[in-house]
């Protein structure tokens, strides 16, 4: 058993922080409502890869946003000057702001900012540069393109598109990065450092991530089947996921729809292995998140799992949940079964799914699965197949990453 991580009682101090806008640019659709309907139906977002030549690979599918046309969404950014990850983030931010019904002048007076997570940064840009290197040597690199490589440009794209003047920070803590961004943005609003923040994450499908996960033996043979006995791994995915955070008071004052209140979060580090998750450390993170949110395990109605679909990760995640919840594990599902693993955007999509589940009264499903792996033990309800009607009050969103970075956010209904 791991020692307790630093715990903070988020419920006791600071301003209440709520989520009032959602923006999804995802492999199962663009826009939060389209996304929610697709998720509830157990839709598939994975298809043969189009963004790079995958013919040399044994696995050739990914969760790409095939219908993403930046100019459909962006008013200010020149798509030629920004990488795909930044464009996905900026488009999702535009959608989130529209969904929140918040006016751009209000964003400016509130000194709103953007905190964006990512795993691979501007990977499509770096990939294009590597192709130039192979074709013409390093001296042939395009200087304009080289200037587009920093991961910082993901949050910068959001702030440049929306003319934000507040804190603009990219958090590349790999596959828990969106949850990290949400947590940090929540701290900024809660503490009074900011009044409105945009938080989420973005990543693009790319050749190196595809190759790397295959080399690690973590890639699914066909589709991802998290929690199923025959699960064989991930399918890489991409997208942009952005949420609008503001104080409860400001949301009430402007009559905004409130999807959820962020009750608290916790972040810790396994400090054990770069790639393999650690059940005791994840359990410690869950406990710290509950303590921060001021909730008991019995109050959690749903877990939006990290749920990568690799044999080890899913059993570790369930073991960690069992350590905290005992034999009463709440329904636990993986939307990666539909989107693929969208990397730095994954827990942002998880948070959006949680918000929509609270709003529309359903449990998001684990698609491609008919029953959970009996090896996971008794009482694992992974909501197989399609979504299920359910009234939820408090939900828990998981994000785990290479480097042992665990972040868990707790969201609750505001009644």
């Amino acid at each position: 058993m791991a020692e307790p991580v630093q715990s903070v009682n988020d419920a006791a101090a600071g301003r209440r922080v709520v989520i009032t806008g959602l923006g999804a640019v995802s492999p199962v659709g663009i826009g939060a409502d389209v996304f929610a309907s697709a998720v509830r139906a157990g839709a598939s977002g994975t298809a043969p890869i189009e963004s790079f030549d995958a013919s040399g690979f044994p696995r050739r599918k990914a969760g790409e946003v095939l219908d993403f046309e930046p100019t459909d969404h962006l008013k200010r950014l020149d798509p030629g000057q920004w990488g795909r990850s930044g464009l996905l983030a900026a488009a999702a931010a535009r959608l989130a702001v529209a969904d929140a019904g918040i006016d751009e002048g209000r964003l400016e007076t509130a000194q709103a900012g953007a905190i964006m997570g990512t795993t691979s940064g501007e990977s499509a840009v770096v990939q294009a540069l590597a192709e130039q290197w192979v074709a013409g040597g390093l001296e042939s690199l395009d200087g304009e393109l080289a200037g587009q490589t920093p991961a910082s440009r993901i949050a910068n794209a959001v702030s440049a598109e929306l003319r934000l003047t507040g804190e603009t920070q990219t958090i590349p803590t790999a596959c828990s990065a969106s949850n990290y961004a949400l947590g940090y943005a929540y701290d900024l609003v809660r503490s009074g450092e900011a009044d409105v923040m945009l938080a989420g994450g973005a990543d693009a499908v790319n050749r190196l991530t595809h190759a790397g996960f295959y080399a690690l033996g973590a890639m699914a043979e066909d589709v991802p089947r998290p929690f199923a006995a025959d699960r064989s791994g991930i399918v890489t995915g991409e997208g942009g996921a952005v949420l609008v955070l503001e104080t409860y008071d400001s949301a009430r004052e402007r009559g905004a729809r409130i999807y959820a209140e962020i009750l608290g979060y916790a972040a810790n580090c396994d400090a054990a292995h770069m790639v393999h998750p650690d059940a005791a450390s994840i359990a410690a993170c869950i406990r710290a998140a509950h303590e921060a949110a001021g909730v008991d395990p019995s109050q959690i109605d749903y877990i939006c799992a990290h749920g990568t679909g690799t044999p080890t990760n899913d059993s570790t995640e369930v073991a960690a949940a069992r350590e905290v919840f005992g034999d009463r594990i709440p329904p636990i599902s993986s939307i990666k079964s539909m989107l693929g693993h969208t990397m730095g955007a994954a827990s942002g999509f998880g948070a959006i799914a949680c918000c929509k589940a609270l709003e529309q009264d359903f449990l998001p499903p684990t698609a491609n699965v008919t029953e959970p792996d009996p090896e996971l033990g008794e009482g694992v309800d992974c909501v197989p197949g399609t979504g299920r009607a359910a009234r939820l009050d408090i939900v828990q969103n998981h994000g785990f990453a290479f480097g042992g970075n665990n972040v868990i956010t707790i969201l609750g209904r505001v009644s």
Partner: protein, 382 residues
């Protein structure tokens, strides 16, 4: 409660509590620790702009040393990670992570027994690209191998940008908050801001805060081709990491970290105003008057356009004058993600070397190409 009609500056302007810097670990082309950096700054033994290039500093190192562009570099010479960490577990470490690990080893060695307890200590590290050498080598492999999926699985995890902070946690048993922060030129200062919020809210008791950068031929060519640095400006590398805590320590304090304020400015014509705003707010929230600033450690040194914008912004916030300016990039070259941390290291090193009497107060500033601006106020007690 702010309303839509209220003036900007809706967010808090409350005065901050100081954070305490109790240790510094520096790996740079000047050597290990603060003292050699201060010595280099005072003697300008290695001026990284223009010719002639100092003999001991001018050569790239590593397998790709012959492939660099025609531009001076300030490589960390003779660096072997095994000399510092032993051989165990170093096989797949890239240069970036090696710098970070060695810098952290130096600060952690300075901590007392109970302070080293891993569950209460975390990491906030700045990087904008992760290890370009690892990433680009694996990309090259997957583009050129007959079987493009045969990339090295032992090295693949090093391609994620939080690899260095993860490795720091693993090697030192640090189970607390573990954040990686990108912000272009301002990345290291954003790391301090991130750490300040986390410490003030009790998310960690102690954080190792700083930045790391590595040189490689692909990264050097990328810089060279962007044309953002003045001709003849050197590229640099290294890591600087500081132990930062909220509780006043029983022992010595290297410095107090006061406010760190940031600002994004979408319009390039207003970059100087954006920085001036960040500086003014940082001073205000630190309870420091402009005339009390003794030193300013500048970040956009050798950057076309931005260099003047930074000076203009700082002058505007300070009422026209410029206090003593420290330009660490003159010595280390452009250290990008690590630049803010190196700027702070330069100040602390100089203060130690000068045996300054009485308190000193300084600004660390940074401005980046997309409109990021940041200002950190730091004070030497006594």
């Amino acid at each position: 409660m702010t309303t839509a009609t209220a003036a900007p500056a809706a967010a808090t302007t409350a005065t901050v509590e100081p954070l305490y810097v109790t240790g510094a670990g520096v790996v740079s082309s000047a050597g290990h620790g603060l003292a050699p950096l201060a010595e280099a700054l005072r003697s300008k033994s290695a001026v990284s702009y223009g010719d002639p290039v100092g003999e001991s500093y001018g050569d790239p190192v590593g397998d790709d040393a012959d492939a660099y562009p025609p531009r001076p570099v300030r490589a960390v010479q003779g660096f072997r990670v095994q000399d510092h960490l032993g051989r165990k577990g170093t096989k797949y470490l890239d240069r970036l992570t090696s710098f970070g690990l060695v810098a952290c080893k130096e600060v952690l060695e300075g901590l007392e027994g109970t302070e080293r307890e891993g569950g209460r200590t975390g990491v906030v590290l700045a990087t904008n690209t992760g290890s370009v050498s690892t990433h680009s080598t694996l990309l090259y492999d997957t583009l050129t191998l007959e079987k493009p999926y045969l990339v090295n699985p032992g090295r693949f995890p090093n391609t994620v940008m939080n690899s260095t902070s993860g490795q720091i946690a693993i090697r030192n048993g640090l189970r607390g908050l573990n954040a990686t922060v990108a912000g272009g030129q301002t990345a290291s200062l954003l790391a301090f801001r991130h750490a300040r919020l986390a410490l003030s809210l009790g998310r960690a008791e102690r954080l190792l805060v700083g930045g790391a950068e590595e040189l490689s031929a692909p990264a050097a060519w990328a810089w060279h081709r962007t044309g953002v640095l003045r001709e003849g400006a050197a590229l640099g590398e290294g890591a600087a990491v500081f132990t930062v805590q909220k509780e006043a320590p029983a022992g010595g304090v290297l410095a107090e970290i006061l406010a760190c304020e940031v600002r994004f400015t979408p319009d390039p014509r207003q970059y100087a105003d954006g920085l001036a705003d960040a500086v003014s707010r940082a001073l205000d929230r630190s309870g420091v008057r402009p005339e009390e600033v003794d030193d300013v450690s500048l970040g956009a040194v050798h950057h076309r356009g931005l260099e003047r914008i930074e000076e203009r912004g700082v002058r505007a916030a300070l009422g026209g004058g410029l206090p003593r300016a420290v330009r660490v990039a003159d010595v280390l070259g452009e250290t990008y993600s690590a630049s803010g941390a190196m700027q702070l290291a330069a100040l602390l090193g100089l203060w130690e070397a000068e045996e300054a009497v009485g308190p000193r107060t300084a600004l660390v500033t940074s401005v980046g190409r997309d409109g990021n601006a940041a200002a950190l106020v730091v004070r030497r007690p006594r």
